[in-house]
Amino acid sequence: MISNELLKGTLKTIVLTLLEENRRMYGYEITREVERISEGKIQLSWGALYPTLHKLESEGLIVSESYNIGKRVRKYYRLTPEGEITSRDKAEEFREFVRVMQQLIKPSPGISLNYG
């Protein structure tokens, strides 16, 4: 299990990346998909997911469409053109972050800490 503390800053990136790969998704589907890909290590709480989705929508990065599914309404989200750009930027930023974190936590032998 990955702690919520660590997930906090990456939730937007996760949602945007998933939407880029899957064209359109609804909230429950996103939580299921994250669980599937991470093999159960990441469980998105809906309490974090829905506020994030609405925030992204208010920023114009994603748009929503509602459909009647059987007896209830299902709200699908997809990326806007602006969202696609942001999605790529965020993913790149995160890869950079991971690289730097790896260096920080396990400094490779190539880096000299001696500035003299």
Binding site: G27, Y28, W46, G47, H54, K55, K71, R72, V73, R74
Partner: protein, 481 residues
């Protein structure tokens, strides 16, 4: 694959509503989410009730309200900043206006800037922010947005305030903007307001005080039109203002206060009401303060109202005029004074007409420079090459008519009196001399009328007073002989 039926979905929906979910954008998807989870649990063999209980435990009972709060918090950062700014400006603007008024009354510098800033803040920032906040609030509550009402109120109000700024700063275009803005407020916004309110009340099945709304709107229209007439110096302003303010003070205000006290839940509207009242009162006071300087000119314009002049008559108790002499039936005396009286009347008429032209010239906004007022006027007076209004009228336009009238009057008056004191007064008061020398009309006009307008108006009034005083003295003398 299990799918929930309508009744099951309905029971979950009622449950969610019971937990205080009001933000409509969120409800559908939370319902869908819970349904999906319940379906998943049911596929593993649970009954609906078991599955729903299980899901509720997993999710925690309080979560729905928290999700809503968090969502609203995240998507409304800008809105909250906007609202805070709006409240701050709403408080700041009346304070600035009152400060400006204080400065104005105390004749400290900077009053104009303060008032302009206050008006700018009220009209160009506070008002649009208020409308945006209102639109946002209405939308969040899922009610229809009365766009016509907002636009028809905001646009004329902004134009009016721009006009007021121009008026204060003596920039061109104030008249046309005030006319358009105030007419818009009175004839478009207020009727739309009344219709919207009454229709809204009918729809919500609320008891709307129709009389209050109609009376208020009618009074509002009259007040605004009256103010417009007053500002533009159109005839009929007085009566319209009198009727409308009486309506407001005697009937509307008590009704309104009662109504507001009855339902105090709508804080935002009450806040606007207080701010608007404060601004209105401030502006009214401002208008009166501004008109004070104009009254100074008006009192010169009607020298009969001049206290000194009246006091002189009252004091001596010998007011005597042409009508009294005519009534006496003494033909010899009447003939003797007839020319003098006619000439006095002519001078009086003439001086009134010059003042009239001067005042209308200074009232006319199409004249670019007089609005820079006395200061500019004073500067102009030191530049003799410059043409300017009093001299232009008296010397050029009327070809020194006043000079010739006064000379003729003086000569007649001197013939009619035998009183050496009066003779001296006539010679001295109808001063046609500069530096104690009799000079040409050109020099006379330049000496007396090439000054600030206030000075020349005063001189005109002094001539008029002297002429009337001399007329009175001579009539009295003739009668007593």
């Amino acid at each position: 694959m299990v799918e929930l039926d309508e009744q099951q979905i309905g029971s979950i929906s009622v449950d969610i509503d019971g937990q205080g979910l009001t933000y409509t954008g969120l409800k559908d998807e939370l319902l869908d989410h819970i349904c999906c989870q319940v379906e998943l649990a049911m596929e593993k063999g649970m009954t609906f009730n078991e599955a729903y209980q299980h899901v509720k435990i997993v999710m925690g009972r309080k979560r729905i309200r928290q999700i809503q709060d968090e969502t609203l918090y995240l998507i409304s950062k800008k809105y909250r900043r906007m609202k805070r700014t709006m409240f701050a400006l709403g408080v700041l603007a009346p304070i600035l206006i009152l400060a400006g008024l204080t400065f104005k009354v105390m004749h400290w510098p900077g009053a104009g800037i303060l008032n302009t800033a206050a008006l700018f803040i009220t009209g160009m920032i506070f008002l649009p922010l208020f409308v945006m906040v209102r639109i946002r609030d209405t939308r969040n509550m899922g009610e229809p947005i009365p766009m016509t009402l907002y636009i028809s109120g905001m646009v004329p109000a902004m134009i009016t305030i721009l006009g007021a700024i121009c008026k204060l700063q003596h920039w061109p275009g104030a008249g046309i903007m005030l006319t358009i803005g105030l007419s818009g407020l009175a004839l478009v916004f207020l009727p739309v307001f009344a219709i919207t309110k009454i229709r809204e009340g009918k729809k919500m099945d609320e008891e709307v005080n129709k009389k209050l709304i109609l009376g208020g709107v009618l009074a509002g229209i009259l007040v605004i039109l009256g103010s417009l007439f007053k500002i533009m110096h159109w005839p009929g302003a007085g009566i319209v203002l009198l009727v409308s303010w009486s309506l407001v003070a005697v009937i509307l205000l008590p009704l309104l206060v009662l109504n507001v006290l009855k339902k105090s839940e709508n804080q935002l509207n009450n806040f606007l009401l207080i701010i608007l009242t404060a601004v209105t009162v401030s502006i009214l006071v401002l208008v009166y303060v501004r008109s004070a300087s104009r009254e100074a000119i008006v009192s010169l314009y009607f020298p009969e109202n001049n206290l000194n002049y009246n006091a002189m008559y009252l004091d001596r108790q010998t007011a005597y005029d042409w009508d009294d002499l005519m009534a006496s039936g003494n033909t010899e005396k009447i003939n003797k004074c007839e020319v003098l009286v006619k000439e006095a009347d002519e001078i009086k008429e003439y001086i009134f007409s010059v003042k009239d032209r001067l005042i209308s010239f200074y009232e006319d906004e199409s004249n670019p420079w007089p609005y820079e007022s006395a200061y500019r006027d004073l500067l102009q007076s030191h530049n003799l090459a410059n043409d300017y209004e009093p001299l232009r009228i008296i010397a050029k336009e009327d070809e020194y008519r006043l000079y010739h009238l006064l000379v003729s009057y003086r000569d007649h008056a001197l013939l009619l009196t035998t009183n050496p004191e009066l003779e001296k007064y006539i010679k001295r008061s109808l001063v046609l001399m500069t530096w104690k020398r009799e000079t040409s009309p050109e020099a006379w006009a330049e000496f007396y009328f090439q000054g600030p307008t206030m000075k020349t108006v005063t001189i005109l009034s002094m001539y008029l007073s002297s002429v009337k005083l001399i007329e009175h003295e001579i009539l009295t003398e003739t009668e007593s002989r």
